[in-house]
């Protein structure tokens, strides 16, 4: 658990690390996207401004695509560029390039598009029961572990929970640079992305037979991603590649913030309806029915995968002996929603954790009692039938109660609120997050990693997983070096490049350390065993003729892991990370404003490789979740739409609570997933604390002063 300094730290601090916007090539054109500015309809006419020489511009549209006009995704249904039909604001119509950025931007803003507008849907409720607005089939989990219940003697509660869009708001906007090498029939892409092999596939699809080779490399620095650079880069890279191909010159597209906010993927808005039956005496939840819906936006793209993770996390950290969980994707006329840290789990955890507190109030139990009696313990079954193999969630709960003094504070605040004008509240939540791809995902991916030992005993690591801020390239090197034990500066992860690195899968799903890191560590141990040496540098010194040498290893799933994609029964995730959280809030009844003052976190993420980097993930994830809980929102209807950081309110230093973070079981053999779980739990904790502080039950986010005011005044009617 050593906190080695980050390898990329200093270069980033002083601005020497190159981000995409710092790349420039001779003869390079600036590219940009022309997109639709209505929610739904048809393009009737496009007219270019008269006072520009069209010959100076390179323009590509759907009809210029030599390959297929379909972005490859788990469900490939989104065109790179529209042929005329507009299904969402931000639907790309053209790519345009010009040597001068200023000329390009003024040209684009002077293009006039006439539309025939149609009625648009921009929320999840409008077409709730209309199958025409549902994507695909319902996903279902049916779990019957306990005796059939008699509803007559149980407390029956039905509720609906809503969450809103959330923007990833990586500080570096998305960008791509494409180079076309006609002689070798090759396209090279450099850009901001989490998944170089997805981007390679997308460029191959759009280019078809027009080029023979596509190479994708990430920029040296990637300025944050959080899921936002998982799927949109496919579309962006495809269009940039096509522009470079047509212009025979390098083309760089860097989105401006407003466009990045308006047209790229966001967290799915959700509607989660829960019906539960609880024993009033004991507080035991006997049966529950969860209807989990996500607003996919205009196209499905990767939403079914988000939905899948969502329903598999819908039961939260609780033992629900009888439950039915169904998942639906709704179609709407907003840009397709995509990956964002948590990937369906934050919406699920928000609903179940909020519901637990609501049951507690309804039957006169404390939120803690509800959690104690219903907690998912060792050998309990999850809705997927998967048996819990450890009691670490319970340990997280025990520890959080100790360090936060939750039970006492909950009582004290009741009294405090009677005696004071300003109010206090405390909220307790539990969470779990499955590491790696869902179900058979990792089995199908078959990630492969490569290592090269050179004559000077440098260890070069080749993986497709990117350094986007999470510290992966430092942590992965540390994992390898746990075996080799040479100076850490001699162990380095190379910049992912699809021509050089094997496909170790995308940088998503909390899988980089858990799956790829474990694989690298196994490979390092294997090399050590094969060379029969403890002193790698000495061995290489004595056997110079054998090096440089490459070593590879592929992922092998646990043969006991079995998951049925149809029934959603079996091992949904080989390992779960567990967490417990308590937040304390101050509430100002004059301003209707909640401020989080303290946040305690206890997590089991297994072995901690780099304590500082792990802490950074928790601090950052919690902060994003607090933004989602309290301020962040996207205007969808009418104007002004959210188009900048002025109206998309991100947490600043002033919003930060005191943070207390502890990891348990840090000496475990396995380093489990960490990236996402801190995003999963803080929002319902804030919401539950607000019940105590403001005396209002709000089942949706964000908990803005306006929303609290509305609810308090509604309650008093």
């Amino acid at each position: 658990m050593k906190s080695k300094p980050r390898k990329d730290g200093l270069a980033k601090i002083i601005g020497k690390c190159r981000f995409l916007d710092d790349y420039s090539l001779e003869d390079m054109l600036h590219g940009y996207l022309l997109y639709a500015t209505i929610d739904k309809g048809k393009i009737k006419n496009i007219s270019y401004p008269q006072d520009y020489d069209l010959k100076e511009f390179t323009i590509v549209q759907a009809s210029d695509i030599p390959g297929e006009n379909i972005v490859p995704e788990p469900v490939s249904d989104q065109p790179f560029m529209t042929k005329g039909e507009v299904l969402h604001y931000g639907q790309v119509i053209m790519g345009i390039a010009h040597p001068e950025l200023k000329t390009l931007m003024s040209f684009i803003s002077a293009i006039k598009i006439e539309y025939e507008e149609e009625m648009a849907i921009t929320d999840v409720d409008t077409c709730l029961d209309d199958k025409a607005f549902q994507f695909g089939e319902c996903m279902h989990i049916s779990h019957k572990d306990g005796a059939k219940v008699d509803p007559e003697h149980l407390k029956h509660i039905e509720e609906v929970f809503y969450t809103q869009h959330q923007e990833q708001a990586y500080l570096e906007p998305q960008g791509m640079l494409a180079e076309y090498d006609q002689k070798n029939s090759k396209i090279k892409i450099t850009g901001t992305m989490q998944c170089p092999f997805f981007v390679e596939e997308a460029v191959k699809v759009i280019m078809g037979n027009a080029v023979e080779k596509v190479i994708v490399e990430t920029s040296e620095g990637i300025g944050g991603a959080f899921g936002g650079k998982e799927d949109f880069p496919n579309l962006l890279a495809g269009i940039t590649a096509l522009l470079a191909y047509k212009a025979h010159k390098p083309v760089k597209i860097k989105l401006e913030r407003a466009d990045d906010l308006l047209i790229t993927t966001k967290r799915h808005p959700s509607r989660v309806a829960i019906v539960s039956y609880t024993d009033v005496q004991t507080g035991k939840i006997k049966a529950v029915n969860i209807n989990y819906r996500l607003d996919a936006g205009a196209y499905q793209t990767l939403s079914p995968v988000v939905l899948h993770r969502g329903i598999l996390h819908a039961g939260g950290g609780y033992n629900l002996p009888r439950c039915e969980i169904s998942g639906f994707l709704q179609q709407s006329n907003t840009p397709p929603n995509g990956a964002f840290r948590g990937f369906g789990a934050p919406q699920a955890i928000f609903a179940i954790e909020s519901h637990l507190d609501n049951i507690a109030r309804a039957i006169g139990k404390s939120p803690l009692e509800m959690r104690e009696i219903n907690l998912l313990r060792k050998n309990d079954k999850m809705p997927s039938g998967q048996v819990v193999k450890e009691d670490h969630l319970h340990e997280c709960m025990q520890r959080i109660l100790e360090i936060s003094d939750y039970a006492n504070k909950h009582r004290q605040f009741e009294q405090y609120n009677k005696d004071h004008k300003d109010k206090k509240g405390i909220g307790l939540v539990m969470a779990l997050h499955g590491g790696g791809y869902t179900g058979n995902g990792e089995k199908d991916l078959q990630s492969k990693v490569k290592m090269r030992l050179d004559k000077n005993a440098n260890v070069q690591i080749f993986v497709a997983n990117v350094e986007m801020g999470q510290g992966a390239h430092t942590t992965l090197a540390q994992m390898v070096n746990e075996e080799f034990n040479i100076p850490l500066e001699k162990v380095n992860v190379q910049i992912p490049n699809t021509g050089k690195t094997p496909n170790s899968g995308p940088t998503v799903a909390s899988r980089t350390i858990y799956i790829v890191g474990s694989l690298l560590q196994k490979l390092a141990a294997k090399i050590k065993y094969e060379l029969k040496c403890d002193d790698l540098a000495g061995y290489i010194q004595d056997h110079q003729e054998l090096f440089p040498k490459d070593y590879e290893l592929s992922f092998k799933p646990d043969p006991n892991d079995d998951f049925d994609d149809k029934t959603n029964q079996g091992t949904a995730y080989h390992d779960f990370s567990w967490a417990a959280c308590v937040v304390e809030i101050d509430y100002d009844p004059l301003q209707y404003k909640a401020k989080v003052t303290k946040c305690w976190n206890v997590l089991d993420i297994g072995r901690v490789i780099n304590h500082d980097i792990a802490l950074g993930q928790v601090y950052g994830g919690v902060t994003q979740a607090l933004g989602w809980a309290l301020t962040e929102n996207i205007y969808k209807k009418g104007y002004p739409r959210t188009r900048g950081f002025t109206d998309y309110t991100l947490p600043t230093t002033e919003d930060m609570p005191e943070m207390i973070v502890e990891f348990i079981h840090t000496d475990s053999a396995v380093a489990k997933g960490l990236g996402e779980i801190p995003m999963d739990y803080p929002a319902p904790a804030v919401r539950n604390a607000l019940i105590q502080a403001a005396g209002v039950i709000i089942n949706d986010l964000p908990l803005t002063p306006e929303r609290i005011y509305q609810e308090i005044n509604r309650s008093s009617l």
């Binding site: 990586y170 900048g644 950081f645 230093t653």
Partner: protein, 162 residues
């Protein structure tokens, strides 16, 4: 139009459109890539530089406004003893994640620490509240600034100059 100013301590002159953003001039003409564009509307602080020793978001400054003045970027600051100390403390606390916002934080932290190296967390939070970071939750950035304060106090005790 000809604009004369000091850039990172050196006198310079540029003939350009007076309404160009300082951000663009620094990035495009002077290749100072520590100055990052993120929001383009003065909200995030990624493009922060010192203009006449005051932190400003260079996306909101027209180049004509710096005529006769002094501009210091993260490149300049990282060459100073205090700038080096701040960078070292960021590194020591492992404060960096994606790093896109960090040159901006370096500039703002430098301004705070050069003028009033106070350990008080609320003062530090206030000083840094114009810089947005989406990765780190700010905790380790604040830790790093506090660490600089302590080191500066130690140095003062040891009569070292910085």
């Amino acid at each position: 139009m000809k604009i004369n100013f000091y850039l990172n301590g050196k006198e310079t002159s540029i003939d350009t459109d007076p309404m160009r953003r300082l951000l663009d001039v620094l990035r495009e003409d002077y290749k100072l890539t520590s100055v990052k564009e993120s929001c383009g509307e003065g909200e995030c602080g990624a493009c922060t530089v010192l203009l006449n020793d005051i932190p400003v978001t260079s996306c909101l400054i027209n180049i004509i406004q710096v005529d006769g003045g002094s501009v210091i970027t993260a490149e300049g600051i990282s060459e100073t003893p205090l700038g080096k100390l701040i960078a070292d403390c960021y590194q020591e606390t492992n404060a960096v994640q994606c790093g896109f916002c960090f040159p901006g934080f370096l500039v703002t932290s430098y301004h705070y620490l050069a003028n009033n190296p106070d350990l008080d967390e609320d003062k530090i939070k206030w000083a840094l509240s114009g810089n947005i970071c989406r990765c780190t939750g700010y905790r380790k950035i604040i830790d790093a600034v506090q660490l600089v304060c302590r080191k500066l106090a130690d140095q003062e005790l040891n009569h070292e100059s910085i």
